[in-house]
């Protein structure tokens, strides 16, 4: 069995070894702005991957900026991509996609215009699964060109993937070899980071440790900048070390309207409004004009959505402050 799906990225680990060898590893400040990071580190045609889990711990500010700057022909890792996929689809920013989970917003529903984009033929798709995608990143993080896995066998998902069947040299068992995924750019939102890029993620990691290691360039947005001593004094805090990171920016409430574990809950009202706006093309155009194209930056978006007052409501929700019986 050989999957029919196209593999969108370079798989040869030796090419990547040269890239990673040349990556600057000096501990220098990587502080920049969202605008600058997007214009200098993301090129039309690049393959990008977004950290977090669709509507949880997502780098919203960077995603909006990609749309505002009109980036085109990107490859996109649809690895449980929900609201992140929705934002990039709104700008028609990508034209090829590795799909584990796209379009839908989990229990919230399926946005119409985002679905239309995938049904239109404008996006070349290759099918995978969540495990396959995390393992593809893992293979890349290991510096090898594939990893053997036991899922997908026998399914149409495998047929439309880019996987190939192999036989284990030790046991004779069948495996699928899934190719390493080396994204051009990873964009990850974290809880705390220093100016060099040392980063801490609290709670579930999803696939972000593998993603940071696998990617050629890594853009970090953080809730808070902290001094490097915070990491030096407690190296266990380091989820992603600085030498993997290319750009750092402080974006408070940066996962909004997504959830940021231990900080603020998702804004379900705004997400529902977005979902509703997609029902009608005209309404959606106006919606995007108001919230993305018509705003200068993420702060303006936050203000439009209720500003600090709204954020305080979402913090109370997250921390279960008002829950009966306490938190």
């Amino acid at each position: 069995m050989e999957g029919r799906g196209r593999i969108f990225t370079e798989v040869d680990p030796d090419l990547l070894r040269h890239y990673f060898r040349g990556k600057p590893k000096k501990m220098v400040s990587k502080l920049t702005t969202v605008k600058e990071a997007v214009s200098s580190l993301i090129n039309d045609g690049d393959y990008i991957a977004v950290g977090g889990f669709g509507g949880v711990r997502i780098p919203t500010a960077v995603l909006h900026e990609i749309v505002r700057q009109g980036k085109k022909n990107l490859g996109f890792s649809g690895h449980t991509a929900t609201h992140d996929c929705q934002i990039l689809a709104a700008g028609k920013c990508f034209n090829r996609c590795d799909i584990a989970y796209v379009i839908g917003l989990e229990a919230r529903g399926i946005p119409k215009m985002t679905r239309k984009y995938f049904e239109s033929g404008e996006v070349e798709c290759t099918e995978w699964t969540n495990a396959a995608m995390t393992w593809r990143l893992k293979a890349a993080a290991m510096g090898v060109s594939f990893i053997p896995v036991r899922d997908m066998l026998g399914s149409d998902t495998a047929i439309y993937s880019g996987a190939k069947e192999i036989t284990c040299p030790f046991t004779g068992k069948k495996y699928l070899a899934v190719p390493a995924l080396f994204p051009d750019v990873a964009i990850i939102h974290v809880h705390e980071a220093d100016i060099y890029g040392n980063s801490e993620i609290k709670g579930i990691l999803v696939s972000d440790v593998e993603l940071a290691r696998a990617s050629k360039r890594v853009i970090i947005t953080c809730e808070r900048l902290v001094p490097t001593e915070a990491f030096r004094n407690n190296p266990q805090k380091t989820t992603i070390p600085y030498y993997l990171v290319d750009a750092v920016m402080e974006v408070p409430y940066g996962s909004y309207p997504g959830n940021m574990p231990y900080e603020y809950y998702s804004d379900e009202e705004h997400l529902a409004e977005w979902l509703q706006a997609e029902e009608d093309p005209e309404t959606y155009r106006a919606f995007l004009e108001k919230f993305i194209y018509g705003t200068q930056d993420f702060n303006e978006y936050l203000e439009l959505c209720g500003g600090l007052k709204k954020m305080q409501v979402l913090r109370r929700l997250e921390l279960l402050i008002d829950r009966e019986g306490g938190n």
């Binding site: 889990f53 669709g54 509507g55 949880v56 649809g78 449980t80 929900t82 799909i99 584990a100 989970y101 796209v102 379009i103 839908g104 989990e106 229990a107 919230r108 399926i110 679905r115 995938f118 033929g121 099918e127 995978w128 699964t129 969540n130 495990a131 396959a132 995390t134 393992w135 893992k138 896995v149 036991r150 899922d151 997908m152 066998l153 026998g154 399914s155 149409d156 998902t157 069947e165 068992k173 069948k174 495996y175 699928l176 609290k202 709670g203 579930i204 990691l205 999803v206 696939s207 972000d208 593998e210 959830n259 574990p261 231990y262 809950y265 998702s266 379900e268 997250e318 279960l320 829950r323």
Partner: protein, 257 residues
């Protein structure tokens, strides 16, 4: 006892989760069933979420399988790799899945409707973790409303393997032996699989419905042997479900469609 179809499906599903088992769940019915089981008869049930939340004490229903509720007072906030590798290692007993289409062998479609993959009539989100769990969990439980549109002779796309085309097919494909479809819980009945043929079989019909109702809502021939009546939700199950598991009626207030 008055109850709605969602409540019935959740209560019935929860009974399959014994104490000390591991179960991976998504949002909605599966999560409610696992929470109910944990509160009633399986305090040591380990609930896993594919995004990385392991053994949380769920305070409320999560909206996303990666949101902060899935890590509330958890034993471990891990990664997707950790959950999926535990699954591949054989550590996950039960998984709950759904889909737009299911066939008599329990194959599931959550990818697309249409004849041609490249020109779908309707595109769905795709596998997510469904294929992983359906491939590698020991027992797959599907909870879904039943209709001829959903229970079809042949799924348009096998997103997640059931028994594929019959006995031995999973093993021939290379999937780990002893894994696969276990139960299908619908708004009308509990269905299982016949040991020899691996085809879907009626196990019990819910109170208020007939075997004919079940057949009429299935687009393929069901195996029928001994038919029981499903034990309806008990007073205790409903009380805990309504008061502790889903007081805001996020799941039980939905229509079963």
């Amino acid at each position: 006892m008055d109850y709605n179809p969602m409540e019935l499906m959740i209560c019935v599903a929860s009974r399959y989760l014994e104490d000390g088992a591991t179960v991976s769940v998504g949002t909605g019915i599966p999560c409610a069933a696992a929470m109910l089981a944990q509160r009633l008869h399986s305090p040591n049930l380990i609930i896993l979420f594919e995004a990385g939340g392991i053994a949380p004490l769920l305070p409320t229903m999560p909206i996303s399988v990666g949101d902060s509720r899935t890590m509330y007072k958890a034993i471990y906030t891990a990664s997707m790799g950790e959950v999926m590798e535990s699954l591949q290692r054989g550590m996950i007993d039960y998984c709950f899945l759904g889909g737009a289409q299911i066939d008599q062998y329990g194959n599931l479609n959550s990818t697309m409707i249409g004849e041609d993959y490249y020109h779908p009539k309707v595109r769905f989100p795709g596998s997510g973790g469904a294929n992983d769990f359906g491939s590698l969990a020991w027992k797959t439980i599907v909870v879904t409303p039943q209709s001829p549109r959903r229970f079809v002779p042949k799924v348009d796309f096998i997103t997640t393997p059931g028994f594929l085309d019959g006995p031995g097919a999973r093993e021939r494909a290379g999937l780990p032996p002893g894994t696969g479809p276990y139960k299908v819980i619908t708004n009308l009945a509990v269905l299982g699989y016949e040991e020899d043929s691996k085809r879907m079989m009626v196990e019990s019909v819910h109170p208020g419905f007939t075997l004919d109702d079940v057949k009429k809502n299935t687009g393929f021939e069901l195996i029928v042997k001994e038919i029981k009546t499903t034990l309806p939700p008990t007073e205790e199950e409903l009380k805990v479900l309504r008061e502790e598991v889903d007081p805001l009626k996020l799941v039980i207030g939905r229509e079963a469609k």
